[in-house]
Each structure stands twice: as structure tokens, then as C-alpha cells.
């Protein structure tokens, strides 16, 4: 779900709303959001370029995560601000929260913490997906805020996900699955009995539950995006006819 292009990003101001109403933001809010979205677009572009350069120089994906991790962690963690943005842009805090949380979870609680899986191919898979998705998404929001949205950006935002989303989910699930044996061996993030709090937590089984939760959640989000796509791109066609 981390690669979802769900509107819950909360940074596009206008057309994102399902009822199509234009909503005014204050000048300060607009200025801040433009800066934020420009910065994020730039950040993910830098990340993408660094990834391409690494692969061109080294010819392998091994060590790629280590070389880009600082940039990735900075920009992905900074995205937690988008939950706050929801208050200004009136998008769902819950959806944004879930999306950002799942990204933070993948970056910090899987890939960062379980170092043995950092060279897995599945990591590259979701990193590539995230990069393309985020560059599209943040530039979409930026142009929206500037009221000058090139059609190809809108097209990209509402079409790329069709491939990117399932591929991203595959990358995430494969990564979590690869991490399982190391989690079981080291007992990371787990709490065993006896202890004075009389509670226990097994990260291994927690991860298995997470993996199963993709089954109900992924189709819901995917079909929601498909419906959004039909509404936005289909609506576009109708306007042209009237002209």
C-alpha cells in the first residue's frame, strides 16, 4: 500500500476533491505547500538520479540501498508532515496517516532495521516504484497549486498506478517475506515473558499479520484509484465534447 497514489497526500489543493469544488487556501498556506511540493519533487528526482547513476557505475543493485538510504530516509520521513497538511487541505487524515505510516514502516522497521535484506531485488523493486510515483504525485500537486497543470502530468498520475501499484505491493511483500527468517532468529522488536508489564509481542507473527492484511486492503485501494481515474479522465473527455 506504500506505493499507492491515493489522494490522501493532501497537498493538491483543488481538483483532488471528489465533488470537484474549488477550495481556496490562504496565501501563506499556498506558498508553503508549493515550496513543500517543489522540494519533495526535487528530493525524489535526486533520489531517482542517484539510483540510476549507481546502477550505471556499478552494474549491480547490491549496495544501492546503502548508498541512497540517507536521502530516502530524509525525504520519506519528512513526508510525515502531510498528515498535518490534511487539516489545511481538508483531505482524510486517516488515509494519509495509513499511507505515510506504511512507508515509514517499510523504510525504518523493515529495510533499515533488518540489514541482511538490503541487497534483495525486491527492495529495488519498491524503491523504483516509489520514486516514479512520488515524482509524479508531487509534481502533480505543485502544478495544481500553480493552476497550470500539464495534461501529461495528470495522465501520468492517473495511469502509472495501474502498473506501479501492484508492482510496488509485490516489492514490499517480497521484502517483508525475505526479512522473516532474520526476525525469527534475532527476535528484533519482540518482548518475551516473563516481564513486569505482563505483556508480550512477537514481531515475527506481527509481520505475518501485516502481510495478510494486504489481501483485503490492496483491492480496495486499487479499485478506488480506478474509480477516481474514470471520474477524472472521463470527465475530461466530456468537457472536450462541449467545446
Amino acid at each position: 500500500m506504500a506505493s499507492s497514489e491515493e489522494d490522501g497526500g493532501g497537498n493538491g489543493s483543488v481538483e483532488e476533491k471528489e465533488n470537484g469544488k474549488k477550495r481556496r487556501l490562504g496565501a501563506v498556506a499556498t506558498a508553503w505547500l508549493i515550496c513543500y511540493n517543489v522540494a519533495m519533487t526535487a528530493g525524489w528526482l535526486v533520489l531517482g538520479i542517484a539510483m540510476v547513476r549507481f546502477y550505471m557505475q556499478k552494474g549491480t543493485h547490491k549496495g544501492l540501498f546503502r548508498s541512497v538510504q540517507k536521502t530516502l530516509k530524509f525525504f520519506q520521513t519528512f513526508a510525515m508532515l502531510e498528515v498535518v497538511h490534511c487539516a489545511v487541505v481538508h483531505t482524510s487524515v486517516l488515509v494519509t496517516g495509513v499511507q505515510v505510516s506504511s512507508r515509514i514502516f517499510m523504510v525504518w522497521f523493515i529495510t533499515h532495521s533488518i540489514k541482511q535484506i538490503q541487497n534483495e531485488e525486491s527492495v529495488i523493486l519498491f524503491l523504483v516504484v516509489w520514486t516514479v510515483t512520488e515524482i509524479t504525485r508531487y509534481s502533480f500537486y505543485t502544478f495544481n497549486l500553480l493552476n497550470h497543470l500539464p495534461y501529461f502530468i495528470k495522465w501520468a498520475r492517473y495511469n502509472f498506478f495501474i502498473i506501479l501499484y501492484p508492482v510496488g505491493v509485490a516489492g514490499e511483500l517480497l521484502t517483508i517475506y525475505a526479512a522473516l527468517p532474520y526476525v525469527k532468529k534475532t527476535g528484533i522488536f519482540s518482548l518475551r515473558l516473563p516481564n513486569k508489564y505482563n505483556v508480550s509481542f512477537d514481531y515475527y507473527y506481527f509481520l505475518i499479520v501485516i502481510m495478510f492484511s494486504y489481501i483485503p486492503l490492496f483491492p480496495q485501494l486499487y479499485f478506488h484509484m480506478l474509480r477516481q481515474r474514470r471520474k477524472v479522465l472521463h470527465g475530461e473527455v466530456i468537457v472536450e465534447k462541449d467545446d
Partner: protein, 312 residues
Amino acid sequence: MGGRAGFFEVEILDWKTKKQLCFLDKVESNATIREIRLMFHKLYPQWYPARQSIRLDPKGKSLRDEEILQHLPVGTTATLYFKDLGPQIGWTMVFLIEYTGPLFIYFLFYFRMPFVYGLDERFTSSPHPVVNLACICHSFHYIKRLIETIFVHRFSHGTMPLRNIVKNCLYYWGFAAWLAYYINHPLYTPPSYGKKQINFAVIMFLLCEAGNFSIHVALSDLRRDGSRTRKIPYPTKNPFTWLFFFVSCPNYTYEVGTWISFTIMTQCVPVGLFTLLCFIQMTIWAKDKHYTYLREFKDYPSLRMPIIPFLL
């Protein structure tokens, strides 16, 4: 407004499709909504009165059974809208199911059924007295609730949607299993401050249970005459009810107190988590009730807060 002693005509439309579902002619002007529901039920046997939401506007609030036709803002041909609330279940049955579950689920763990802690630990008992105490307190709490449901509570709305029962039971029964698992676990660790902590917790538990019961009785007495309307509750001679000076819903205050004491008694994080969630849920309910009181009664005591004196 309705004629002097004349008859009304009542048409009932589906709230979404606006299709006419029934047309009642020669309805008495002093007919109640309850009677209209019964008439509608005769025409549509599958929609018993409890699942009928009858309203003046398609998206409006459901009319109460006691409302009288001629007092409603309708002409001599009244148009009402119907929404199916889905299968309903009576409050009494809801509470009986919700409370019996945790009672017996706890016992599965207390008596260490074989499938819970593995075959080696089956039917063994804990060396810690506090574990027996916790079982007594937990059981006492739910038995008290069951008794209150049968003999004390007088519910204002008769029913709730059936699908809620599955959700609620999952929550209450699931949590009961989770906290019972740790308290009765062979590797359970008794409270850090020993007997002092346990005794304090027991006293707090008993006081809060007594308080909660006193409030339930006081609220029930407000409706001794069988009415279903709301009245302002006031403190009585019972000192436990004096909390009414400070809060609108002291029953929730005492209930949170009970669970805090149970957390202290068992020193168990799942119990603490359950207490936190109870507190959040009851604060929402208390605030709702409090603002309803404020809306309905102009002379509502101004010192009162919803659930915590002076604070919340």
C-alpha cells in the same frame, strides 16, 4: 395543521427512491407514530416496528413512537419517509451476549484449558494469590453487569442494529481473551509493590463498583413510573451519588475507576490498554449525553462536567 376532529391521510415514501410504499387513509388525528408503525408493519410484515425509521424529511431524524400526528408540521395529507434500519436486536439481549462472553472466556484461561497454554500446563493453577483475586474481581464485575441488565436498567431506545453485535462482541470478547491470557499465564509477574499495591487496588475496585451500581439504581429510579423521557438526575442520600454534583455521567466515571483499579491490581499492559480505550469511548458517550442534557434543560446545573469533575 390537522383539522379539528377530522381524519388524516398518511402516505409513506421510501427515503431514497421516493416511491410510495403505502397510503393510509382515515388515520385519526391523534394517532401516534407507534400506531402508524404498526399499520405499516401489517402491510410489510418483514419490517417490524423496531426497524422502521419514519421521518419527516428523507434524511431527517427518526420520529419517536410517542409523537402525535396532528402535532407534526404536516398537512391533512401527511408525507412521511421510511428507511429500513436492518435487523434489530433488543438492548437487553445485546448486553446479555456482550457480558456473558468475557465472563466465560476469562474462565477458560483461569482454569488453563489445554489449548490455551499448551498441554503441559493444563488445569494447573497459579501460585500467586493476586491471580485468584483478579478472577474474582473480573467475574464479579461481569456478573454485576448481567444482574443490572436484567433487573436495573430501563432502556430508552428498544433496539440496536444486529450487525453491531458482531463488531461489539469481537471487541469485548477479544480483549477479554487477550488480558485473561496474560493474567493467568504461567509466567505472570505479580505487581511490583506487592501486597500494598494489591490491597489499594481492591479497595478502589470495591468503591468504584459500589459507586457504579448506586448510579445505575439512581438512573433507574428516574424512570420508575415507566416513562421513557429524559430527566435530570440529582444526588440522593447515597454518598456515591454525590458525584452528580460534579459530573453528568458518574456511572462512566466509576466504570473507568474500576478498570484503573484492575490495571493496578494486575499490573498488566493489555488491561491498561483496555482501560484507556474504555476511557476514550466513555468520554465520547459522556460528552454526547452531557450536551443532550444541556440542550434539553435550560436549568441544567452549570458546575457539571461530562465525566471528570472540573476537567473533562
